[in-house]
Symmetry: C2
Subunit: 256 residues, 2 copies
């Protein structure tokens, strides 16, 4: 039975895609059968794994709007144990098209049910909004992993995100938890980063992963080659950090 | 008659808010009567100017959904010539609530019409999506200013953004143009940044502002004090760059 985690934060550019993609690969390297679902119309997770969003045969759009089974859109990647359910630009209209549909918040949860036995982990990359795509992810997930950039404006948005998670827990998915908060793009030379980490630690306590992801240009270069950090620069500070984060996640899940 | 510019890019965290807020202040300092409209439910522009989004008496939500006149929600700031139309968390539901409304794409354009005589510039900060809030901004604006972070993933999203701008131009606002593209968070030490700038320059030519905004921690610190870069660290690389950008914008507009 797969563990399902949504990478969500409506603040843009905080490292949702970078975390989902690299954690998915790290888990696959540790022989966890992993499915990465790209729920963002920008399709950044799709292109980060080397796929062309314009030419994928089918995407999660068909799963959400046309009841296509998830296994019919899943693509195998060049990594053993890592599959991708790609996004496409058509997903941009899903937010509006889902509005009148009955049970619109549960489309992804229903689609995932038959797939959960085939994987150990299912990671969902969310768009930077709290619309119906992210709500579908919150309704489908066991837990939320919240990437937080070590800056002020991203900190501000956490209260709003927590309200939406609480609402999703109360109305759609009582089992939903905040599985972890991960600090990203940390630059130890600035006071701001240190202050933000201290503030988040105060708020979230043990939910904060002790692994902090440093700012590392290799992480932003890797997607331009369609490779994960482990394929592109495994020994870089970014590669080492996401490797530690994967170990910490597995320990938190009691997977030895 | 005010010039109206929308700061739009569905990629998250590329510097839309930072550019809109600091350009608005720079224009106000140059005696241009400026209105900043915060169209993002995150309300980052509102808090960057020192306002508390939870306690503003009224926001653009009322303007879009309840036909409240724009002048009834406008707040004066501590800067002469700079006014703010604040956002609030209620704006998050506007995307969905606008869907069934007649003329839903033109709500902002209609609300702006009476206000255009009272200002020289109206700048609109958009959320990281291409939904009805951003579409309202594209329908209301004379031009779009596109912040592009000097990294790969933000580059990928430009094609999608241009498609949406073309669609808005054809269907909603024939006068809409791309008024400028501004490179942000440039770190000259990395090859990636130099490659991205070269690529964008090839695509956009003269639309690319020659002023490039460097990565500068002062820009990310200023909002935590509710101050613009000119109030917080005017001589910083970020302050100097946004000052140059304001001069370049005024020259492009023929305002001497
Ligand atoms: N630790 C890091 N160090 C340096 N660059 C990073 C790091 N993490 C992410 N990046 C880069 O920062 C940018 C934003 O990251 P990313 O796209 O993963 O964020 P996101 O939250 O998924 O954005 P969006 O809100 O648009 O979905 C990207 O260009 C990415 O390559
Ligand atoms: N030139 C810069 N140098 C350093 N930090 C910057 C710069 N520009 C913006 N930032 C910081 O980077 C983060 C993202 O910028 P900002 O919030 O302005 O982007 P945005 O496009 O408005 O994001 P969103 O998509 O969430 O609306 C913020 O924490 C901001 O303070
Ligand atoms: Mg992303
Ligand atoms: Mg913003």
């Amino acid at each position: 039975m797969a563990r399902v985690y949504a990478f969500a934060n409506q603040k843009g550019g905080v490292g949702k895609t970078t975390s989902a993609v690299n954690l998915a690969d790290a888990l696959a390297m540790r022989r966890q059968r992993t499915l990465l679902i790209d729920l963002d119309p920008q399709a950044n997770a799709t292109s980060s794994l080397g796929f062309d969003k314009q030419t994928v045969p089918a995407s999660v759009y068909q799963v959400l709007l046309h009841d296509t089974p998830l296994r019919d859109v899943v693509q195998l990647t060049d990594r053993v144990h890592l599959d991708l359910a790609p996004s496409s630009p058509t997903l941009a209209s899903a937010e509006v098209e889902l509005v009148p549909q009955i049970g619109r918040e549960y489309r992804l949860r229903e689609a995932l049910a038959p797939a959960r036995d085939g994987y150990d982990y299912i990671l969902i990359d969310c768009p930077p909004s709290l619309g119906l795509l992210t709500v579908n992810a919150l309704a489908a997930a066991d837990g939320v992993i919240i990437p937080v950039q070590c800056e002020y404006l991203p900190l501000e948005g956490l209260a709003m995100l927590m309200q939406t998670i609480d609402l999703a827990k109360r109305r759609l998915n009582p089992g939903l938890t905040v599985h972890g908060v991960v600090m990203t793009m940390y630059d130890g030379r600035t006071n701001l980063a240190q202050q933000v980490v201290a503030e988040v630690r105060q708020h979230f306590g043990g939910q904060l992963f002790s692994t902090i992801i440093p700012r590392n240009v290799r992480l932003s270069e890797a997607p331009s080659f369609g490779r994960t950090i482990f394929q592109y620069a495994p020994a870089s500070p970014g590669g080492v950090a996401y490797s530690h984060l994967a170990d910490e996640l597995l320990a938190r899940d009691g997977v030895v």
